[in-house]
Structure formats: structure tokens, C-alpha cells
Symmetry: C2
Subunit: 218 residues, 2 copies
């Protein structure tokens, strides 16, 4: 009973995800689903990215949070279109919510859409939103055991951002262990070490974005 209902919810989600995927292909929009724990720096990374790349690309952001529109306001202040989804308790975004939000930000006129999922390292990874790729962010103060403890989330990433490397001197964190554990579950995706706060290492992230945006728009 439980399984069949979950399958029903998933299959409804899959249908909406397929529509989103078709929308992105049709309008040549590159869409990234950004997943992390609360406070790993999703919004901070997007703010800096928008400030640095908005002259070059048309960028929009769909924000997911349990409550408040704080993040959408931060994104708008950085200079991008943003639409906030308040899930009112739900622990992840659904493809249907994203489908509606795409209209609100006129996504067909954009090059790059970020979906900032609800801060949660578990649930969002089970829901396909139709995205072109998935960014998983791990921040240094969360600790070096997270890739082993949440392997499914890291396995599904197109790119892993290791954020807040400016805090490495202040917390115990075994970088080689993290890289090895990520490699075990996801040997093909790059791991980018950076600080969204200071800008250190950010160029590798912009290179990754540029390469993938160019592939989408030859």
C-alpha cells in the first residue's frame, strides 16, 4: 500500500519532470537543481554567480523553502529574476511546483535557471525536477563524514561543490577522506573546492557552468 502510493506520487512527479525537461530542451535553457543541507551556502553561491555572470547570461532562480521569501529577495537584490515557492512543511520541491514557477520567471527567455531546493540532504535527491544537471553542495563545517552517510545524494550529482573552504583552518576536516568517499559513490563528477563568501576557487565553478552552457547552446 505504502509502496504503491509512493509510486503513484513519483510517477505523477515523473510526468511533470518530463514536461520540464522538454521545456528546457525546446527553449535551450540550462537548468541546475541545487541540493544541500540547510546553511551549506546555496543562496550565497547563487548570489555571487549572478553578480559575476549576469552581464553574460540571462539567469533566473526558483527558490524552495519551508517558509519565508528571504532567499528570493536576496536573489533579486543580486540582479536576477526569482520566484519563491514556500512549501509550508514539505521537505523537497516537486516537478509540478517547478513547472508553475518556470512560467512566473518567463524561463523561456533565460539561458540558465537555478532551482534552489529546500535545505535538506535527503528528500530532494529522490525527486526528478526535469533539470539538466544536479549540483550538490557540501560545506566544510558540516564535517567530512557526509558523503559516506548520504551516498545517494552524492551519487546523483553532476558536480559537487565543496563550499566554505575558508573555514578549513578552524574545524577538523579530512579533505582526502571526503574526496575518496565521493569518488567511491560518484567517480565521474568533478569536485570543486571554493568559498562563495570570499570568492576563492570560484573560477572553476564558472568554467564548469560555461562549458555546460555552451554545450546546450552550440
Amino acid at each position: 500500500m505504502k509502496v504503491s502510493l509512493n509510486q503513484k506520487i513519483l510517477s505523477r512527479n515523473e510526468e511533470a519532470a518530463a514536461k520540464n525537461r522538454q521545456f528546457f530542451a525546446e527553449h535551450k535553457v540550462f537548468c541546475l537543481n541545487v541540493i544541500s543541507s540547510p546553511g551549506a551556502g546555496k543562496t550565497a553561491l547563487l548570489e555571487r554567480t549572478i553578480r559575476d555572470l549576469k552581464e553574460r547570461y540571462a539567469i533566473g532562480v526558483i527558490e524552495g523553502d519551508i517558509e519565508t521569501d528571504k532567499d528570493a529577495r536576496r536573489i533579486q537584490a543580486a540582479g536576477a529574476r526569482a520566484f519563491q515557492i514556500e512549501t509550508k512543511g514539505a521537505c523537497h520541491l516537486s516537478a509540478e511546483q517547478v513547472h508553475n514557477a518556470l512560467k512566473m520567471i518567463d524561463a523561456q527567455t533565460l539561458d540558465l535557471v537555478f532551482i534552489e531546493n529546500v535545505g535538506n540532504l535527503v528528500c530532494p535527491s529522490a525527486f526528478d525536477l526535469g533539470e539538466s544537471g544536479r549540483v550538490v553542495i557540501l560545506s566544510v563545517p558540516e564535517g567530512d563524514d557526509k558523503p559516506a552517510k548520504y551516498p545517494g545524494t552524492f551519487a546523483g550529482a553532476s558536480v559537487i561543490v565543496l563550499n566554505k573552504i575558508d573555514l578549513l583552518p578552524y574545524v577538523p576536516f579530512d579533505l582526502s577522506r571526503v574526496l575518496a568517499d565521493i569518488h567511491t559513490v560518484n567517480p565521474q563528477s568533478p569536485v570543486l573546492q571554493l568559498s562563495a563568501a570570499t570568492g576563492e576557487g570560484i573560477d572553476a565553478w564558472y568554467d564548469w557552468l560555461r562549458r555546460h552552457l555552451e554545450k546546450k547552446q552550440p
Copy 2:
């Protein structure tokens, strides 16, 4: 359909939670459900607490993680009984899982049982485990916007631990904003500022535990 099934799952959980609650009352066990984001310092707080209080109280820990028994091994090394539940994808512990784990650690012979829930600031707060109280941990590097963004979790806390205060000099964090936002959703529960890593402020946590343990065992 979705709602009625969720209600069914919840009501089955409520039944198991009621059994757990009765067990804790009968055996005079004080049980705390510990909830936070991944990496906020749940295990670190429990390790230090066990090292400092194990001569005084018999302590056991039920550990919840998606994968690995890393945390149970850390707890055992600190000197307490521990049982690991690997949820294999589920984003929270259920009262039934806890019910089985209580047997595995001979909980009726303990004074204090910690349930370290899956690292997730959303889902665990919706599931009553029959606990005596709820500890919500927020760590400084997660940022000062979390109480406003996850109000339900903070509203349900018996005590809020603000952990990693040793990192305050290195990250932007408006302490007065956090205290005000917590007070808005939960005016009655204390907020304890401490560092499980350095031990700063830990005595207020031990005082809180002692007062509640004495109430349970007059």
C-alpha cells in the same frame, strides 16, 4: 488519498510513540529526541556529554542515519551503549524503529536515552517518537536565517542548542536576530549557546539535563 494515507502512517506512528512514552514513564527513563541539520554537531555534543556525565548517569544512544554505523561507533568509544538504525533512504526515524532499538540497548536499565535522529531539519520534527523532550541544535555556520525558515522544528523544541559558537568570529551571524526569531516561534524554551568542540558553555547544558533528570526521578 494522499492525506488519508499520511494520516494512517502517522496514526501507526502515534501508537508506537504512545508505547514508547509508557515505557519511559514506567522505567523512569528520560529520553531526548535530538534533531538538527547534517553536521550541526549532534554526535559531538553527545560524545562530550557521555564523557562528562557517564559516571553519574547510565546513558544510551539510539543512532539514526541513512547509511553507516559511524556514529554508533563514536558513541561506544565515548563510553555509552549505542544502537545504530540505518534507515536506507528514509529521512527520519519512526517510533517503531525506536521501540525495537530500546530493547537492543536494554533501555529499562538506563537513566537517560538520546535518540540522535537522521540529520534533517524538516522531516524528523513531524514524527513523535514518544520522547520526554526534544533538543533542536542549530550550528553557527548554518546561518542566522534558519529559525525563520524552519519555524515548525524550532517551535517543537524543549531546548535549543546553539552550537559551534567558537566559529562566531569567522562567519557572519546575527545572534540577536536568531534569538528574536526563536523567541517568536518558541518563547518558552531556553536557548543554550555552547561549543561541543571546545566545551565553552557546556555547563548550562548539563544543568538543564540535571534539572530534567531529577524531575523524572524525584
